[in-house]
Symmetry: C2
Subunit: 337 residues, 2 copies
């Protein structure tokens, strides 16, 4: 059984668990609030449910890390729902902070319901996530649940740290790649890492083994983010569905940009002066390439991918779930074998 | 030993615990983020620390409910810090949602650092609160900690529900007092109630007794909110430090307003048409009084105060802490004996 078969059996049950958790908001006076969350989660909306409400990578990692130790992965569903809900909370608030009007091809929550309502809906999702993880207490010891809750909370704190750096870096000079890594450790790697760690810890009760799964997911997150940064500047629109060079328009502090900022004064001058216009994008992307940013980012992506796959080997996940984790990693990192 | 002596010994230790918890954000890349939080908490700022960084009512209730059972209230400090930090998280986000530029006489966090940073700083406070309550695991069983964490999380969810209602009610017709109570159950009562419940549960490990402390604090919160609503329209500026009638200018869905909306068409028409201007305030306050809103709110405040004090008697807190809880309630509710 490979990734497809396992995820085919996990994802419907995960979706049901997510719906159960979000239903905490059902009630006479908060029906409209519940609708906001079902809209954001991709289950409803004027144009009907989305074909793909999100990739659910984080909960899948958690469930597979669990399933690499024990077969009864259904017991870990509340924890899997928790990490996915934290991810969605962060999307709701990030869209406000970044002034991004769309999410998954539909109006972002704040664009549809206004900023005050969206801030509050994000807070509700955040709370529901923390209530969700406590639900694993039905099947696991209080001690284990507490450790998992602490891991998730710490990841949330790391998320806010990463987001702080991202906001603080906007249009700021004097930055370099050394400022990039702590940012994406928080923004991208922390939640993925915590999911794999929680899954493995629930499945094995072995702190050392859970730490190895954590390290794999952390490196996977870093590699994935660097790859995403490369595609965001030089990407293939047909393949990624994402407009190439959109990251330059959005002023994103991606790895190529932070690499070039203190190496290529012409790029830095233009970057710090004002938002980039669409017709300037090709020349700026070329300037980044000349500065060595493409080569550097590509090398880092390859290094991190190798390290992630080595860490997975170290974690030594067993059986079908082990095979599926390896497939998931290669799929995310665009490696065919 | 009365309230003064007990709070004089508790508050400095609480402040130290709060600082320890917020210090989770100290670090090379997040120093400025840590400063945002110390500013909001009232410990720093261009004009120096505030004389009064907030009343710390919620953690005091928690510590006193604990101290009514056991003397070693220091062990409950992380939980007390948690409820105060949740309260402060909600202030940060509420100020953005309400577009309120000042907080405790200084610029609100969003007014000083911008909305994106303030949303994120609020999220960080929220996370720190949940990490803080897990710290009572140093002194109490995992089972007990889990129950306390769940109580606090549920209060947070109730907070977001109450805030949703508050936002949804703005300039909306067809509302009545039946819409008021679930709103303030969430916005005001839930966190106070959870604090007293957690304190009593940690101190006694007795669910029934903790429930009685919860009920006392819930009623105290409701009575206090109704009193605050009355003062916000007909209040005595010299006594409250709050401009009388400011709630009418702010369009707040207070009890007198919701009472009058479907009883006094002249008030409803004006209220729903556009924001109230300062020179209209005295006439509108009179109109509310004529509609019976003042009498109704005053009666409800008296009823809830009586119920709160009866619930405290029922909870039967012992010793100095019991005396202090009674004093705290009477002080908050403006009763001299």
């Amino acid at each position: 059984m490979g990734l497809m078969q396992l995820s085919d059996s996990m994802l419907p049950q995960l979706e049901a668990e997510l719906a159960r958790q979000v239903a905490r908001l059902e009630g006479v006076h908060t029906q409209a609030m519940h609708e906001m969350l079902t809209y954001h989660m991709g289950w409803s909306g004027a144009d009907g449910p989305q074909a793909s409400p999100g990739k659910r990578i984080r909960p899948l990692l958690l469930l597979l890390a669990y399933a690499a130790h024990r077969e009864d992965w259904m017991l870990a569903l509340p924890a899997a729902a928790a990490v996915e809900i934290v991810h969605n909370f962060s999307l709701v608030h990030d869209d406000i902070q970044d002034n991004s009007p769309t999410r998954r091809g539909k109006p972002a929550l704040w664009a549809k319901y206004g900023t005050p309502m969206a801030i509050n809906a994000g807070d509700a999702l955040f709370t529901i996530a923390h209530l969700a993880i406590l639900d694993v207490g039905k099947s696991f010891s209080a001690n284990l649940v507490l450790r998992c809750a602490a891991i998730l909370q710490q990841a949330c704190l790391d998320l806010t740290r990463g987001q702080f750096m991202d906001l603080a870096y906007q249009r700021r000079g004097g930055l370099g790649v050394e400022d990039y890594w702590p940012m994406i450790e928080g923004k991208t790697a922390a939640l993925l890492a915590s999911g794999a760690q929680v899954g493995a810890l629930l499945g094995s009760e072995d702190v050392a083994s859970a730490g190895r799964f954590r390290e794999f997911a952390r490196l996977l997150g870093l590699a994935f983010q660097v790859q995403d940064d490369i595609l965001g500047i030089w990407g293939d629109e047909a393949r990624t569905g994402k407009s190439a060079a959109s990251d330059l328009l959005e002023g994103k502090s991606s790895l190529p940009v932070l690499y070039a900022l203190n190496r290529e004064p012409r790029f830095a001058k233009r970057w710090l002066a004002a938002p980039v216009k669409p017709d300037e994008v090709p020349a700026l992307a070329d300037l980044l390439k000349q500065a060595g940013a493409y080569d550097y980012a590509t090398q880092e992506c390859a290094r991190l991918t190798d390290e992630a796959l080595a860490a997975l080997k170290e974690a030594n996940p067993r059986g079908d779930a082990g095979q599926a984790l390896s497939e998931l990693a290669r799929q995310l990192l665009g490696r065919r074998q």
